[in-house]
């Protein structure tokens, strides 16, 4: 069948989807999108060489400061590791398994392929069939120094009908490229939170590759605060109807930080739902965030319901937020599809207003950013977890605004 890939606007009109593309004036021009820009095919492969070495001209690398990523792109063999500590409720297993023995979604780019090829063994977290956990599973990965390149593979596997909350925390200093394979079995429900709370010198490139079974539910939250360069690509593959994902993220980019989140939700089967909500706040020279929201609704994916939202808050004028929502729709038979993206400024008038009520400038900025993020964090729906995350965010903001 010939794929009738229409332009986004036409498709939306045809399907009655919502469009709210309010991209604010101070978004640096992310090259205008035209149908020609839409990538015809997305390569997925375990072979790094299939992807070639990025030059910066490729669509998926054009925002990333490649020079800074050099230590990882060079692909040196390394058996350095992150230190793993964990809190495991009864019944949950955390084991090392030879990477060749696990069946996971294919890598999306060269670094992800290198990570799988070079890591040797995979850290596999298993929640067995039918087990429903109330306590969160916490796995903390700590870098011990930026000097060594670390290749990693983490697998979070929920067997059918199980339910769990998993927190994957990244701290310390590292040059870390990894794949996180997220396998949510039929009828299983995973609340996954990943925290990037790295030291300032860290490089982190990750492919979070989710695969959902029939009626599986995934809630995935990325909290990206620390690190020199963090680039997370999150892909979602649905394998059967009834899949339901919500992808959320908050990032705070300070002076010199590059925080990039790329999402690819691939609706290839009917009757799945996806929601994407990402917010970033930025301050300082060379603070840069990138958000790419690719949602693909294939011809077979009738009854798809999707919406994505990206909001960015510039606290200082030199910071830069790139935001590229991208919806490709190959069928008219969908329940809904839309996106919104906007970048706003915390302006002097807001600052004046808060200060005129006695609130010092730093506290005023902190309040605004905290409120901005709280809306996302509070949608997780697990109060304990929300509190912990807000406390982590608060600590970061206190550091940034004093």
């Amino acid at each position: 069948m010939a794929s009738a890939l229409s332009t986004e606007r036409e498709a939306l009109k045809a399907t009655g989807g919502v469009m709210d593309g309010a991209i604010a004036t101070n978004v640096k021009p992310s090259t205008p999108r035209s149908p020609a820009d839409v990538r015809p095919e997305r390569i997925r492969s375990a072979d790094p060489d299939v992807f070639g070495v990025p030059t910066g001209r490729e669509e998926e690398w054009r925002f990333t400061p490649l020079a800074r990523l050099r230590p990882l792109l060079d692909g040196a063999v390394s058996d350095a590791r992150l230190e793993v500590t964990s809190t495991l409720p009864d019944g949950v297993e955390l084991v090392g398994v030879p990477t060749a023995e696990v069946d996971v979604p294919l890598p999306v780019d060269r670094l992800a392929a290198l990570a799988l090829q070079r890591c040797g063994s995979s850290l596999v977290l298993r929640v067995p069939k039918g087990l429903e956990l109330d306590e969160p599973v916490v796995v903390r990965l700590a870098g011990t120094g930026p000097g060594h390149v670390v290749w990693g593979h983490v697998v979070v596997e929920l067997a059918e009908q199980s339910r769990a909350t998993v927190v994957l925390e990244h701290v310390g200093s590292a040059s870390y490229a990894a794949v996180v394979s997220v396998l949510v079995g039929d009828g299983a429900a995973l609340q996954l939170v990943q925290v990037q709370n790295w030291a300032d010198d860290t490089l982190h490139a990750a492919h979070v590759a989710s695969r959902l079974g029939r009626d599986a539910t995934l809630r995935s939250t990325q909290v990206t605060l620390g690190g020199s360069l963090v680039r997370v690509t999150e892909t979602v593959d649905f394998t059967a109807p009834g899949g339901d994902v919500e992808l959320r993220g908050v990032s705070f980019a300070d002076d010199g930080q590059h925080l990039e989140h790329r999402l690819l939700v691939d609706h290839s089967v009917p009757h799945c739902r996806s929601r994407v909500t990402y917010k970033s706040a930025l301050q300082g020279e060379q603070a840069h965030t990138v958000w790419i929201g690719d949602v693909l609704i294939r011809a077979a994916a009738e009854g798809t319901d999707t919406y994505e939202l990206n909001r960015n808050l510039l606290l200082t004028p030199e910071a830069r937020a790139d935001s590229v929502p991208n919806l490709e729709i190959e069928t008219g038979e969908i329940a809904g599809a839309g996106h919104a993206s906007a970048t706003g400024r915390f302006d002097d008038e807001q600052l004046f207003y808060l200060m005129a009520r006695g609130i010092p400038a730093d506290a005023a900025r902190r309040m605004v950013v905290r409120g901005f993020f709280a809306e996302v964090v509070e949608s997780i729906g697990v109060p304990d977890l929300e509190e912990r995350l807000m406390a982590t965010i608060e600590t970061e903001l206190e550091r940034a605004f004093t």
Partner: protein
């Protein structure tokens, strides 16, 4: 000892199209706690500029003159220091702050101004009661500051802050404009509650005499071309009501009282309708 806010020969410029334009041309005014001074003047005469200069808005530069609060140099203080010293500005156009809830904002302000966090339980009660007096829906406390508020709601919210923060000096910039009769009454009653304490000096900036039916000023000052042209008692307001600003050499667009002109934020490059 009663507090005193003293403004002496204040000159203020604002940068406009790259050039400094003098807006305030020598304002002298002394307000004591417990007094209410009405400042009346035509649009564009510099009333808001005076309000912003007192609060310390960075766009307004004081080129000469002084503002002191009980002898302390207000001009040397940052905006937040002025607020903590007891200066309050109810803005003509309150600013929207998305993502910050009213309750968080109010509690943070009260904490800053009082120097310590109010006890949570007492605070909740205090805020609730103050909102009830201003006939505000309790649901407001969970909304973002001023976001999507109607003109009247914004003004109630300003007066709510006035009541909770109990400043030594309150500058109320056209708090009355854009209010219907009910809202004007509610807001005026709020201002009067604060005045009755006798501990707050009020600078009531207004374009119309309407609000003076609710709030009786001790003094009335006519503000023209960046300075006070005449001062008097409440009778002066009646005279303005009858004759407008014509005697001050100002082409009256409308009598000071009576008919309301549409008011809205003056945006750069946008000429307000004459």
């Amino acid at each position: 000892m009663t507090s005193t806010l003293e403004i002496r020969d204040l000159h203020v410029t604002v940068e406009s199209d790259g050039a400094d334009k003098e807006i305030l041309t020598g304002v002298t005014l002394t307000i004591r706690a417990g007094e209410t001074h009405a400042v009346m003047g035509p649009n564009g005469s510099g009333k808001s500029t005076l309000a912003y200069a007192i609060a310390g808005h960075p766009k307004y530069t004081v080129t000469s003159g002084a503002i002191t609060l009980d002898g302390e140099d207000v001009l040397a203080m940052s905006v937040d220091e002025r607020a903590r010293a007891g200066v309050f500005l109810a803005m003509q156009y309150p600013v929207e702050v998305p993502g910050v809830s009213v309750s968080n904002f109010l509690r943070s302000s009260a904490t800053a101004v009082r120097g310590e966090a109010p006890k949570l339980r007492l605070w909740v009660k205090e805020q609730k009661e103050a909102m009830a007096r201003l006939e505000m829906d309790p649901a407001f406390s969970e909304r973002s500051v001023n976001e999507g508020f109607s003109g009247g709601e914004k003004k109630r919210h300003e007066i709510l802050q006035l009541e909770l923060l109990r400043p030594r000096f309150a500058v109320l910039d056209e708090t009355d404009s854009g209010l219907d009769v009910d809202a004007l009454r509610v807001v005026s009653e709020g201002i009067n509650r604060v005045r009755e304490s006798g501990e707050t000096g009020v600078l009531l900036i207004t374009h119309y005499t309407r609000i003076l039916n609710y709030i009786k000023p001790d003094f009335v000052h006519v503000f023209v071309r960046g300075k006070i042209a005449e001062s008097g008692t409440a009778d002066l307001a009646d005279e303005l009501e009858a004759n407008g600003y014509a005697k001050y050499g100002v082409e009256a667009l409308a009598p000071a009282g009576g008919r309301s002109l549409p008011t809205g934020p003056v945006l750069p490059g946008v000429v307000s309708p004459a």
